[in-house]
Each structure stands twice: as structure tokens, then as C-alpha cells.
């Protein structure tokens, strides 16, 4: 049990890290909203969405990889902490993915699809991410249906591994081969200009790092909360609450 739920001590360094993340992202927000941007037709100021929409993708991938890693560790060692970490990572990943999807829809609706009334475009990467999010969302449905902790942990770990395996194909390989709004695919050089424009590049890198760090912070908070829950449950199981006084 001790090793089962062992967590590192999240002390002063962790709190300091939180402060650094807070300051870092505040600076990113200021630079992102007030800083100079490339002068792009159609996009104009919405080019700034680059700093917020794309980092969500990075958090999606990082969370899924962490989730799969801990899923693998759980299957290898059977320690409950890996199941906790896998689920927390998966939650952060799926949430970021949903945010990436919604922000992408909003961004394209008022730029490339302005005047068409189209909210949901035939944009390949967007549709592939929607499919991937359905697959990721099924992870939580699976967990909800299984009552026995060890069975739940084992099956969801296996599922997480498969769900992460589909991710590179759905969200990266397939869309690259189709006509797409996203950079790197056939059809949109304007975006690559924005990506490499020097005045935007460094803010973008800082935003990516900042949001990854924020994702990690949220992930560790979920892990700590869940482990605390489990420890309370274990303590109550060992020493059941006294019966109500009858007089």
C-alpha cells in the first residue's frame, strides 16, 4: 500500500514552479495580445490565436503520451499510482483537445469561412481530431462502467494504449495528405509564413512551453487530489467510523 500510492513530496520547489508558470503565462498573454504580428490577409489580428490554439494541441499530445506511459507502467507493475496518473493525464489531454477543437472552429468560422455561415468546415485535421476525441472520450465511459478497481485500472490502461496509438495517424499522417487549412498540408502557405515570422516565433515557443507547464500543473493537482481521496478511503476502511450514538 505504501508504494502503491507513493507520490513525490510536492513542496517548495513545486509552489515556486506554480508561481513561475503564473508569471510566464501572464507575460505570454501580454506579448501575445499586444506584440507585433505578421500582416496576413483574412487572419489579421486573429493570427494571435496561434499562441493559444496550437499549444492546446501540444498539451493534447503530451497528456496522451503521459497517459499511455503510465498505462504501460500500471500494466507492468500493478501500482495504483500509475492508474491515477494515467487517468489524470488523459483528463488533461482530452480537455485540451476539446479546447483546441472549439477554438479552431471559432477561429476558422470568422476568418476563412467568413460569409459562408459554416461553423463546421470540411477541414481534415479538425474532423480527425473530433474522431480522436471520441476515441479518447470513450476512455471515461469505459472507466465509469467498471466497478472493480483493479479491473477498471487494467482495462482502461489497455484502452489508453490503443487510443494513443491511433493519435499520430488520425491527427497527423492522414490530414497531411489532404487539402487543409493547417500548415504543412497542401493548400495554405500563408500559415507557414506566420509560423516562421520572427516577431511571432518566440512568443509562440514561449506560449507552447507555458501551456505545457500549466497542463503539467493541472495534472499534478488532479493526481494529488485523487491520491488523497484514495488514502482517506483506505484509512476509513482500516478504521471504520464509529457507529452513531444511540441513547
Amino acid at each position: 500500500m505504501d508504494r502503491d500510492l507513493a507520490l513525490p513530496h510536492y513542496g517548495l520547489a513545486y509552489r515556486l514552479f506554480g508561481v513561475i508558470v503564473a508569471v510566464w503565462i501572464t507575460v505570454v498573454l501580454v506579448l501575445g495580445i499586444l506584440g507585433p504580428i505578421s500582416n496576413l490577409p483574412i487572419l489579421e489580428h486573429t493570427a494571435r490565436n496561434l499562441y493559444f490554439h496550437v499549444p492546446m494541441w501540444f498539451v493534447l499530445y503530451a497528456g496522451a503520451i503521459a497517459g499511455a506511459w503510465h498505462a504501460g507502467r500500471y500494466l507492468a507493475t500493478g501500482r495504483a499510482v500509475h492508474d491515477v496518473r494515467s487517468e489524470a493525464a488523459w483528463t488533461v489531454s482530452t480537455a485540451a483537445g476539446l479546447i483546441a477543437l472549439v477554438t479552431g472552429v471559432i477561429w476558422s468560422r470568422f476568418t476563412w469561412y467568413q460569409g459562408t455561415g459554416l461553423w463546421w468546415s470540411p477541414e481534415p485535421r479538425q474532423n480527425m481530431v473530433a474522431v480522436q476525441l471520441l476515441i479518447s472520450g470513450a476512455y471515461f465511459v469505459l472507466r465509469g462502467q467498471l466497478d472493480r478497481p483493479r479491473q477498471r485500472a487494467r482495462l482502461s490502461a489497455v484502452y489508453a494504449l490503443f487510443a494513443t496509438a491511433t493519435m499520430p495517424f488520425l491527427t497527423y499522417v492522414l490530414p497531411r495528405r489532404m487539402q487543409s487549412l493547417h500548415p504543412g498540408a497542401e493548400g495554405n502557405p500563408a500559415f507557414s509564413q506566420m509560423d516562421i515570422a520572427p516577431q511571432m516565433r518566440w512568443v509562440f515557443y514561449a506560449a507552447a512551453v507555458g501551456f505545457l507547464a500549466l497542463g503539467w500543473w493541472l495534472y499534478t493537482q488532479r493526481v494529488r487530489a485523487r491520491v488523497a481521496e484514495l488514502r482517506v478511503e483506505d484509512a476509513e476502511a482500516d478504521a471504520p467510523a464509529p457507529a452513531a450514538v444511540v441513547s
Partner: protein, 76 residues
């Protein structure tokens, strides 16, 4: 570029109607209304962000307190 807005607020609030067209920017309005009014966007975003930060730090503190109690009752 940015389209001119429909200033329908002018219909029911004469003060606002005058402000948009007549008065020159003074004091805090001068920086806020420059740069396509992006500083206003930043102000809104920062308010949201500081709210989120407040919740994050509060959760941290409560978790730490909970962990300290658990460690005291049942040392790992």
C-alpha cells in the same frame, strides 16, 4: 481591416453617443484605445486569467493542507 460598428447604443444613451464621436481620448483612454483597442482585450483576458490563477493557487494550498493532515494521521 476592422469594420465600423453599428452604434445602436446611441439611440438610447445620449452620453455614449457623444463620447464615441466628440470627446478626445484622455488619461487611461489614450493607451487603451490605441492599437486597435487590443489593450482592452488584454485587460479582459488578464482578469479571466487572474481568476483562474486564484483557483489554482487555492487548490494547491488546500491539497497541501490535506496531505499534511493525512501524513500526520497515517505516516507513509
Amino acid at each position: 481591416m476592422l469594420q465600423p460598428a453599428d452604434t445602436t447604443v446611441a439611440l438610447f444613451d445620449t452620453t455614449a453617443a457623444q463620447a464615441v464621436t466628440v470627446q478626445r481620448a484622455e488619461g487611461i483612454e489614450r493607451p487603451m484605445l490605441a492599437e486597435d483597442k487590443l489593450p482592452v482585450v488584454l485587460a479582459v483576458v488578464l482578469v479571466v486569467w487572474f481568476g483562474v490563477l486564484f483557483l489554482l493557487f487555492r487548490t494547491d494550498r488546500r491539497l497541501a493542507r490535506l496531505e499534511r493532515r493525512l501524513d500526520a494521521d497515517e505516516p507513509r
